[in-house]
Amino acid sequence: MKWIDSKRDEQGATQYLFHLSRRDQELLLGVLKLFPVTDAASHQLSKGSSTKIRAGQPLLVEAMEEQQRSQAHKVARLVKNPASALREKNGALELTLDGEQMEWLLQALNDIRVGSWVRLGCPEMEQARRAVRDEQAAIHYTAMELSGYFQAAILQAFSKSPP
């Protein structure tokens, strides 16, 4: 996946254009099907022992669960109907996203990346490949690397053309 260009629409919002190969498309939609990977209950509000802060812990978990539900709908819409954002032009696949879509896609991909890393046992990045000892770990490792690949393309677009 490669960022190609960014344009302003009639409302002045930035539209980001990416080129994808067929393989990119399969991998993007395939990795998104894994969403969500993180456990919303694992979020921690504080490392300290303040009673007042600890009382806010359930609210944080509830907010993360709600966010996952909301993003799951968006991810499912894209996976079920990729033609809403992807189209073929001159033999290449074009993905067009607005700033809001870029943001939730980036978050969803990071959920997959971080969640897969946690399931690998939270290794240092240099040790991650060594953590692959069975088929399940291989899936987590691949999902972590693939989501990172797509995240990098989105981050490059944001850095070249802020919303």
């Binding site: 300290g48 802060i53 978050q107 990346r113």
Partner: protein, 106 residues
């Protein structure tokens, strides 16, 4: 009729308001909570800087400065805020899967 002398009105202190403010929890009045971002090996450096820009509205240079602090020093104190605002920011940062917490400034 004699000329009246102009005297500035005396404003008595609003004791009720003062008492109310004193009785309000200190937390609601003072930015006594720290929002800290901790290092992890999985989030990309560019991603962390991007999240700081989005969540706090910081310019690129400030976002990168804090991102580098996280990377090189293991953590960065991002903001000192009231309880509610600190909690809001931690929710925002964790929605992006950054390792962020709020701690009481003691």
């Amino acid at each position: 009729m004699s000329e009246t002398e102009t005297v500035e009105p005396i404003v008595l202190p609003d004791k009720e308001a003062q008492e109310k403010e004193k009785s309000a929890p200190k937390d609601t009045r003072e930015p006594g909570y720290l929002v800290i971002c901790w290092n992890d090996p999985v989030n990309f450096m560019d991603y962390v800087a991007h999240v700081f820009r989005v969540v706090f509205g910081w310019p690129e240079a400030k976002a990168r400065k804090h991102m580098l602090q996280v990377h090189e020093q293991g953590k960065s104190l991002l903001v000192r805020e009231t309880f509610e605002k600190a909690e809001h920011y931690v929710h925002q940062l964790q929605a992006y899967h950054l390792h962020a917490t709020m701690e009481k400034d003691e």
